[in-house]
């Protein structure tokens, strides 16, 4: 009796719970099972990463947390309440940044605030967050004038301006170069320290997941299941190239490799397999001759 009660209590305190969620898609050849009974409990303020081969449904799961898609079976709950529709309390940041080109930077940042408060107040809030991502100078610039990294920053500011309790990031830095990505990792971590938001971060970059996540979930190839969960017990801030991060990444990569192999076998010929390439040629002999 007592145990049951404490369990119930625990469930309510969970900010986000994904309970036996499955998702079917109707494709040309009939139904395709994209996600198969996924259950994940996420505590408030946790930084969670999903990694998996492409097409494993990690983005679909993120969209269901956002309320942009509905599960075929199972439920996603936020503080015990079922998520059915999108809400500004759970904002998604997309890979393409998805800024609106007909608005300038500051208008993009205040987009979600427009009907909620007057111009002065929302400008003030938007400026605060634009400064937080170090783009205060560019508030009047238009979207097509920004670089990829700047667009990501504006998208982050736009999401933060809504003060969501959950931030959902769908490969937000995948299109950026490594240097810009490193800097944005630092900044998103810094922001996370300050705001204490729950972050769910989807990526196919294993090191990125280890660099940022408290926990990393590895997905199987379709149908998507949780293959393994890794608790990343490393002090922050972490360095993407540090030995411990690379070590964790190697462990996760091993898990992932099998799945990628499965995925590729469906895409390429069946007899194809991942193997170490034979590159053991005596380096001294034809060094540079191939150039």
């Amino acid at each position: 009796m007592k145990l049951k009660r404490s369990l119930k209590q625990k469930k309510i305190n969970m900010r986000l719970s994904i309970e036996k969620v499955s998702k079917n898609f109707t494709a040309q050849h009939g139904k395709v099972l994209a996600l198969d009974e996924i259950s994940i409990q996420i505590k408030e303020g946790e930084f969670i990463c999903f990694v998996g081969p492409s097409g494993c449904g990690k983005t679909t799961l993120l969209n269901m947390v956002a309320g942009l898609e509905t599960p075929t079976k199972g439920v996603v709950r936020q503080s015990g309440e079922e998520i059915k529709i999108p809400s500004s309390d759970r904002v998604v940041i997309f890979q393409e940044a998805a800024l609106f080109p007909w608005l300038n930077v500051i208008q993009n940042v205040e987009f979600g605030l427009v009907r909620r408060m007057n111009v002065r107040k929302r400008r003030e809030i938007s400026r605060t967050f634009l400064n937080l991502v170090h783009l205060g100078r560019f508030e009047n610039a238009y979207v097509h004038q920004l670089s990829g990294g700047m667009k990501s920053r504006v998208a982050i500011a736009r999401a933060l301006a809504l003060n969501p309790s959950i931030l959902l990031m769908d490969e937000p830095f995948a299109a950026l170069d490594a240097q810009t990505r490193d800097i944005l990792h630092e900044e998103i971590e810094e922001i996370w320290f300050q705001t204490k938001q729950t972050i769910v971060f989807v990526t196919h970059n294993v090191r990125e997941a280890v660099r940022l996540g408290d926990r990393v979930f590895v997905f199987t190839a379709r149908p998507g299941r949780i293959k393994k969960e890794f608790q990343i017990d490393l002090p922050r801030p972490r360095d993407t190239n540090s030995e411990s991060v690379v070590l964790y990444a190697k462990l996760i990569q091993q898990e992932l490799r099998e799945e990628i192999e499965k995925f590729l076998k469906e895409e390429v010929d069946r007899d194809w397999s991942l193997k170490k390439a034979n590159l053991l040629r005596p380096a001294g002999i034809d060094l540079g001759s191939g150039i």
């Binding site: 942009l68 999108p86 809400s87 500004s88 998604v92 997309f94 609106f100 007909w102 009907r115 097509h144």
Partner: protein, 236 residues
């Protein structure tokens, strides 16, 4: 120059092929005795009314067809089919419906313009990157706000293209309509020129028609389209 040279060769008699000088004179005369000005103002007034109605109808219909799949499947092909029909072909029908009056000519203008505006609006809406809608929805935008603040602005460059196309169709339809029945527009001036065998006037009126077309097309619609496209970050 070539015109003047051909004129001097005297291949055709002057009443069939007037000199540039005669045409210029006719132009000046036309403006001096105000017949051109009256014709222009009548025509421009007509096209303004017809075009504005076409805009409202075209954008409205385009939105509905772009939004509801059932409408697209039912009347979508009808719209693109009717669009092929030169709008002056509506004139006999319009005369039977409305009689030989202002409404008939407005009808012809509208039939010429609004379908192409509708088609452009619809394709603009259909080609909105879905990510814009998802981004807006995740920020809690829904209902009419989603349309006014995301769908409409996202489709605007395409709508502007439709507006430009629609205007040139409307202008052509108006001229054809005015030629075919008595009124006091520019098309009618062409017709009276023919009846009086006044070739300089005919060409002078044609020059005016081309100029008005160019002014609207180049200065207004092309500029609008170009600005929208560059601001939306599209390469033209």
């Amino acid at each position: 120059m070539i015109w003047e040279a051909v004129f001097r060769l005297k291949i055709w008699p002057p009443y069939l092929f007037p000199s540039p000088e005669d045409v210029a004179k006719a132009l000046i005369w036309g403006f001096k005795d105000r017949t051109f000005l009256i014709g222009m103002s009548v025509s421009i007034q007509r096209i303004t009314i017809g075009y504005l109605i076409s805009l409202v109808l075209g954008i409205g219909l385009g939105f509905l067809v772009g939004r509801f799949k059932i409408l697209d499947e039912t009347i979508g092909s009808l719209i693109s089919g009717l669009q092929v029909l030169p709008s002056i072909c509506w004139l006999p029908l319009a005369i039977l419906w409305f009689g030989l009056n202002e409404q008939a000519i407005q009808f012809v203008i509208i039939m010429g313009a609004f379908l192409s505006i509708a088609i452009a609006t619809e394709s603009g809406i259909r080609n909105i990157p879905p990510i814009y809608l998802r981004a807006a929805r995740t920020m809690g935008i829904k209902g009419i706000d989603l349309y006014t603040r995301v769908v409409f602005p996202a489709a605007l460059p395409s709508i502007a293209t439709g507006m430009k196309l629609g205007w040139s169709f409307a202008w052509r339809s108006l001229m054809a309509g005015e030629l075919l029945f008595v009124s006091i527009g520019l098309g009618h001036l062409l017709q009276t020129g023919r009846e009086l065998n006044d070739m300089p006037q005919v060409i002078a009126v044609m020059v005016v028609i081309v100029l008005i077309g160019l002014i609207f097309d180049q200065l207004l619609f092309s500029q609008l389209e170009k600005r929208l496209r560059s601001r939306w970050g599209m390469t033209t």
